[in-house]
C-alpha cells in the first residue's frame, strides 16, 4: 500500500503540463459552438445532400425470419415508372462480397458469410433481398412490391438456450449455432467457492434493445467515373474505418474512396458499423456511374440497423458470512443475431473485465458463449458490454446483501478498492490508475438523504402502504478510452486504438484543429477548441475543428467507447505542445535569445528575466508564414501532428442512487429521486458533461423501465415501430440531481477519463435495484427488464404477495 495519494500526484502531474492557472478554457461552461447552426437548421445531414441526376435506392427485405430463396425475379420492377434498375445479389455481384467483422474473438470462431444481399437464404426479418434504383425515392419504394420472391420457409431460431442444442441451424454450413466460447479467469474460483460460507446464484436477462438515434441511417455515393473515384457520404460514427472496410470488401482501391460523415445525428453505437446499404450504394453507383442515395425509414431501421444487449447472465457470487467477497463466476449467453456485424462478438467481451467492477476478490471466472439466432444482428450499443457487466455485478451485490441481511451500501464499502490502494490491479488484470469511491459515495448519500429515505421506506413497510419505496444503488466503474493497441491485439481485435490530431496554424493566427474523432452530437468542436485554446494561448473563438472527412482529416479511429476525449482530445493537446516547441524555437530566433530562456505562457513567448522582450504566438505564426527571418535549417511551418496510442484505459466511476415508488396494485414504478455523482476526472466542459450524464441516465432508465425489442415465435419483430417500442420522452423521466467528484486520471496529461457512456452504464442497475428493494417484503428477488407495470405486478403475484 502506498502512502502517496495518487489523486494528488495526478493533479500535480497534470498541472505541470497544462498549467491550470493559465488555463482559463478547460473547465469553463462554454456553450457549444455547434449548436447555433444545428438548432437553426443550417445543417448538412446525409439525406439533405443532393447531386444533379441523383438516383434513389430502396431495399426489399425479407418478411420471413428464415427461408430458402428459390427465386428473386426483379424484372417486373423494371416495368414500373421511374425505375432505372433493379438487382438481386447475383445481378449486382454482391454474392461474392462479405460484410466485415473486425473482431474474430477466438481462433475457432464461426464466421458466417454475410453478403449485403441474401443469396440463397434469408436469416432474419429485414434481411436484404433485392434493390430497386429509381429517379425518386417514392418510385423506388413503390416498385419493391413488383419484385417476385419465392421463399421456402425454414424453422426460425429464437431462443438462445435451445439454439445451443443445434437442432435447427441458422447457418447449416457452420454445423452449429455456437459462434464461440470465450473463457477468462483470474484466480481459482472453484477453489474459493469451496470455502465460501455464502453462495448466491441468479439468472439475469438483458433484454434486446433497439438504438434510436434521432437521425436515421443514410448513405449517398457520388462517383467520378473517369477517374474511378467515389465519395461516400454516410451517417456514420466511423468514416475512417468505413473507408478502409469499403476498400477491403469491394476491391475499390482505398485511395479512390473518400468517406464523409457530414452532420450526424446521434449513433449510440448503431452507426459504428459497416452496413449492407453502404456497400450496396457503392456497388450501384459504380455500376450505373450515377450518384445514388439510400435513407432508411424508422421502421426499416428497427429491422435493419443493429440491435443492442440481449444476454442471459448466470451469475454466482461467493462470500464469507461477514460479507467479504471471495469470488465471482459469470456465464453468459450472448445473442449475435443472424450474422456478425463489425464488432458483434467482441461486445460481450468488453464486459469480461468489468464484472468484478470496483470490488476486491480472490477469484473470478468468466465464460461467454456467442449464439446465432434468426434475428437482427446485435452490436455495440451505448456502453457495449459494460452496462451488461455493471448490471450483473450490481444486481448480485444487492442479492448478496439481502441474503446476508446487511445494508447494500455497507456491503459495497466492505469490498471496494479504497482510495489509498490505487493504482490497483484487479482480479481481471486491469490496472485502475485512480479513483475515490468513498468520496463519490459520501457526496451522493448526502444529496440523496439516504438515511431519511430508508426511514420512510421502513414506515411504508410497517404501514403496508400500497405504494412502497425502494432504494437502488449502483457504484459503478467503466473502462473508457478504447484503447491501448497492444491490449486490442491481445483481444484479437482487427485494428489499433490510437487517435490522430493535427494543428494547422493559419497565417492570421487562427487555428484549425484536425481530429480523427468523428463527433455525432458529443460537442467535440467546442471541447477540442477549449483544449487547443489553452494549449496554444489563443482565444476559444479563434479555433475551428475539422473532422469527419477522410480527405480533410485523413487519419483517425473515430468515435465510440468514450474514447474521443481521452485519446483524441489528448492527441490534440499533445499536437499543440509540438506547435509550441517549434514556435519557441522561432521566437528565440526572433527575440535573439537562447531557446532555453524562452518561456511560454498565456499565448506569449518571453525571455526569462527580460519581460519586455516578448512575442505573442500570432506574431510567431505570421513570421513563420513569411519566413524571411527564420532559424537556420528549420522547416517553415508550425503545423504539427500527433498520433497517440494510450498507455492504459481510463476508469471513470461514480455512485448513482435511485429512489422509486412502486404502486403495488398496478405495478407502476415512479422514480422519486435520482442522484448521480460521477467522477470522470478533470472536466473540460461541465455543460457537455452534464448533458452526457443526463442523456446517459435516460438511456439506462429506458432499459430498466421501458424499452424491449420483442420477437414472436415465428421470428417477427413485434415491436416494429415506436408505437410498440417505448422510447421514454422528457415527460416520462424524472429530474436528476447530478454532481461530481474529480479524481484526475494519471494516465494522461489532462487527467480526463471520458463520460459518454457513464450514465447508461450506471443507471440501469440503480433503477432495477430500487424496484426490487421496494418489493423485498413481497418475497420478490427479480423483475425481468423492462420493469414494466405488468412485469412488476406479475412478479408480486408469483412471489406470493406481502409477507
Amino acid at each position: 500500500m502506498s502512502e502517496i495519494d495518487p489523486g494528488a500526484v495526478a493533479t500535480e502531474l497534470a498541472s505541470e503540463v497544462s498549467e491550470p492557472d493559465a488555463s482559463p478554457e478547460i473547465g469553463r461552461r462554454r456553450l457549444r459552438k455547434e449548436d447555433t447552426r444545428l438548432v437553426t437548421g443550417q445543417t448538412q445531414w446525409t439525406d439533405n445532400i443532393q447531386f444533379p441526376g441523383m438516383l434513389h435506392i430502396s431495399v426489399l427485405r425479407s418478411p420471413m425470419a428464415h427461408a430458402k430463396l428459390t427465386r428473386v425475379n426483379v424484372a417486373p420492377a423494371l416495368e414500373r415508372p421511374g425505375v432505372l434498375a433493379a438487382y438481386n445479389a447475383r445481378d449486382l455481384g454482391a454474392d461474392g462480397i462479405g460484410l466485415p467483422c473486425a473482431w474474430p474473438v477466438t481462433a475457432d470462431m464461426k464466421h458466417p458469410n454475410h453478403p449485403p444481399l441474401a443469396v440463397d437464404e434469408v436469416r432474419y426479418v429485414g434481411d436484404a433481398v433485392a434493390v430497386v434504383v429509381a429517379r425518386d425515392r417514392y418510385a423506388a419504394a413503390d416498385a419493391l412490391e413488383a419484385i417476385e420472391v419465392d421463399y421456402e420457409p425454414l424453422p426460425p431460431v429464437i431462443d438462445m438456450e435451445s439454439a445451443l442444442g443445434d437442432e435447427t441451424l441458422v447457418h447449416a454450413d457452420l454445423g452449429t449455432n455456437r459462434c464461440f466460447t470465450w473463457p477468462f479467469a483470474g484466480g481459482d474460483y472453484d477453489a474459493v467457492v469451496k470455502d465460501a460460507e455464502v453462495v448466491v446464484k441468479r439468472r439475469f436477462l438483458q433484454q434486446r434493445l433497439i438504438p434510436n438515434a434521432m437521425e436515421p441511417r443514410a448513405v449517398v455515393v457520388a462517383p467520378i467515373g473517369a477517374s474511378e473515384e467515389y465519395t461516400v457520404y454516410s451517417a456514420t460514427q466511423i468514416p475512417h474505418i468505413l473507408r478502409l472496410m469499403l476498400a477491403m470488401v469491394t476491391g475499390i482501391p482505398e485511395h479512390k474512396i473518400r468517406v464523409v460523415a457530414p452532420d450526424v445525428g446521434g449513433g449510440f453505437g448503431s452507426k459504428l458499423n459497416v452496413y449492407a446499404e453502404e456497400v450496396l450504394a457503392l456497388l450501384v453507383a459504380k455500376k450505373l456511374g450515377r450518384p445514388v442515395k439510400w435513407t432508411e425509414s424508422r421502421s426499416e431501421g428497427y429491422q435493419a440497423t443493429i440491435h443492442g444487449r440481449d444476454q442471459i447472465q448466470d451469475i454466482e457470487v461467493a462470500a464469507t458470512k461477514d460479507g467479504t467477497l471471495l469470488g465471482l463466476k459469470v456465464e453468459l449467453m450472448a445473442d449475435m443475431g443472424a450474422y456478425l456485424q463489425l464488432v458483434t462478438p467482441g461486445v460481450p467481451l468488453l464486459g469480461a473485465f468489468m464484472f468484478n467492477s470496483i470490488y476486491k476478490m480472490q477469484a473470478y471466472s468468466f465464460t461467454c458463449h456467442g449464439v446465432f439466432t434468426t434475428k437482427t444482428p446485435t452490436d455495440a450499443y451505448r456502453g457495449a458490454g459494460r452496462p451488461e457487466a455493471t448490471f450483473g455485478v450490481e444486481r448480485i451485490m444487492d442479492e448478496l446483501a439481502a441474503e446476508l441481511g446487511v445494508d447494500p451500501m455497507e456491503l459495497r464499502r466492505k469490498n471496494w478498492i479504497t482510495h489509498e490502494e490505487f493504482p490497483y490491479t484487479t482480479i481481471a488484470g486491469l490496472t485502475y490508475d485512480s479513483g475515490n469511491y468513498e468520496a463519490a459515495t459520501e457526496k451522493a448519500m448526502e444529496l440523496f438523504d439516504y438515511d431519511g429515505l430508508r426511514r420512510e421506506q421502513e414506515k411504508r413497510r410497517t404501514d403496508k402502504d400500497p405504494v412502497q419505496l425502494g432504494i437502488g444503488i449502483s457504484t459503478y466503474t467503466e473502462m473508457c478510452g478504447l484503447a491501448p493497441s497492444r491490449v486490442l491485439g491481445q483481444l484479437s481485435y482487427g485494428a489499433g486504438g490510437w487517435e490522430a490530431a493535427s494543428i494547422r496554424m493559419l497565417p492570421t493566427g487562427k487555428v484549425e484543429v484536425v481530429t480523427g474523432t468523428s463527433p455525432h452530437g458529443q460537442g467535440h468542436v467546442t471541447a477540442w477548441s477549449q483544449i487547443a485554446a489553452d494549449a496554444l494561448g489563443v482565444p476559444f473563438e479563434d479555433v475551428e475543428v475539422v473532422h469527419g472527412d477522410t480527405r480533410a482529416a485523413p487519419q483517425g479511429m473515430d468515435t465510440y467507447g468514450s474514447r474521443s476525449l481521452v485519446v483524441g482530445g489528448i492527441a490534440v493537446h499533445l499536437a499543440c505542445q509540438k506547435v509550441i516547441d517549434k514556435a519557441r524555437r522561432v521566437a528565440a530566433h526572433l527575440l535573439e535569445a537562447a531557446e532555453g530562456d524562452v518561456e511560454f505562457s498565456g499565448g506569449v513567448f518571453s525571455v526569462k528575466g527580460s519581460p519586455e522582450a516578448s512575442l505573442p504566438i500570432q506574431q510567431v505564426v505570421l513570421a513563420t508564414f513569411a519566413s524571411h527571418n527564420f532559424p537556420e535549417g528549420m522547416e517553415p511551418t508550425l503545423n504539427s501532428d500527433y498520433v497517440l496510442d494510450p498507455e492504459n484505459f481510463s476508469f471513470p466511476h461514480g455512485t448513482h442512487l435511485c429512489a422509486v415508488e412502486v404502486d403495488t396494485e398496478t405495478g407502476w414504478t415512479k422514480i422519486r429521486k435520482y442522484v448521480a455523482v460521477d467522477d470522470v476526472g478533470n472536466v473540460v466542459n461541465p455543460i457537455i458533461v452534464e448533458g452526457q450524464v443526463h442523456g446517459g441516465i435516460a438511456q439506462g432508465v429506458a432499459q430498466a423501465l421501458f424499452e424491449e425489442a420483442r420477437y414472436d415465435a415465428d421470428g417477427n419483430l413485434t415491436t416494429g415501430s415506436m408505437v410498440d417500442y417505448y422510447v421514454p420522452s422528457a415527460s416520462d423521466l424524472p429530474r436528476y440531481t447530478t454532481d461530481r467528484t474529480e479524481t484526475p486520471a494519471t494516465s494522461n496529461p489532462l487527467g480526463v477519463k471520458g463520460v459518454g457512456e457513464a450514465g447508461t452504464i450506471a443507471s440501469t442497475p440503480a433503477v432495477v435495484n430500487a424496484v426490487i428493494d421496494a418489493l423485498r417484503p413481497f418475497g420478490v428477488q427479480d423483475v425481468p427488464m423492462p420493469c414494466s407495470p405488468e412485469n412488476v405486478w406479475r412478479s408480486i403475484q408469483t412471489a406470493g404477495g406481502a409477507s
Binding site: D142, S299, E300, T666, T718, Y726, W793
Partner: protein, 286 residues
Amino acid sequence: MIPPEFEYVRAGSVDEALGALSSGGEDAKLLAGGQSLIPLLRLRLAYPTTLVDVSDVADMRGVREDGDAIVVGAATTHAEVIGDPLVNAHAPLVVLATQTVADRQVRHRGTFGGSLAHADPAGDLPAVATALDASFVVAGAGGARRTVPASEFFLDYLQTALQPDEMLVEVRLPKLGDGWGFHYEKFHRVAQAWAIVGVAAAVRRSNGSIAEARVGLTNMGPRPVRASAVESALAGVAADEASVGAAAAHADEGTDPPADLGGQADYRRHLARVLTRRAVLAAAGT
C-alpha cells in the same frame, strides 16, 4: 413508409363529401386530421382508392349549444375541443380525456369525430362518449340524416354503424347538469402511448353518497364498454374507499380484454378494477 397511390378530393361541404364518397366507390375513405389513417397508409396497411378530405368543411367544425345538449362538429380538432368553453362547461370529462390523447402535435391535427369514427378500442374518446350517452349524427346518400346512440354506434374493433356511403357530421353530448364530478384515468406505458386500460367516470354526489355514476372503459374489449354492473353497485353507496372499491370489483364483468404487447387479459381485468375504483373516487372528489 410511402403510401400507395390514391385520388384526393378536398370537400367544401358535407354534400360534396358525400358525393365524392359515393362516386369513389367502396374503397373511398374520409380523411380529417389523418392521425390514424396516414400512418396506416404509410405502412401500406390500407389501400384506399380515394381520400375525401373533410378538414375544410366549415359545417363540421366547432361547438354549439342546442337545448339540453352541446353539439361538437366531427372535424373539430382535439385542441379546439380542449379550449372550447361549452365543452368545458357541459362536458368536462371530454376535455380531461382529450388532454391525454397522444401529444400536442397530434391533438392539433387529430379530430374529435375522426377519433370516434375510427373506433379504436384503445382510443380514449369512445369510452367517454359511451359513458356520457353521446349520440352520433350521421349523414347519408342524398343528405339524409340519422342519429345513432353511442350504445349502437360502436360495433366491433375499428367498426361502427356507419355505412360506406355515410359520414359522421356531428356528435351530441347531453348536458349533465349540476352536481357532477369527472375523472379520466388512463394507464399507459409512456406519455404518448395508447391506453392499456382507461376509465372514464362521471359521478353525481348527493349528501355524501353517490347518487348516480357513469363508467366507460377503454380497451377492455373490441369496443368501448359501459361498466353497468359498477354503475348499479355504486348507486346510493357512500363515496368512500371501501364502498367504491366493492363496486369497482365488478368493473371487468362482461368485458373481453385483448392480450397484446400492452398487457395480458388477466392483467387488464385487474387494472380495470383498480383504476375504476380510483377514477370513481377521483370523480366523486374523495
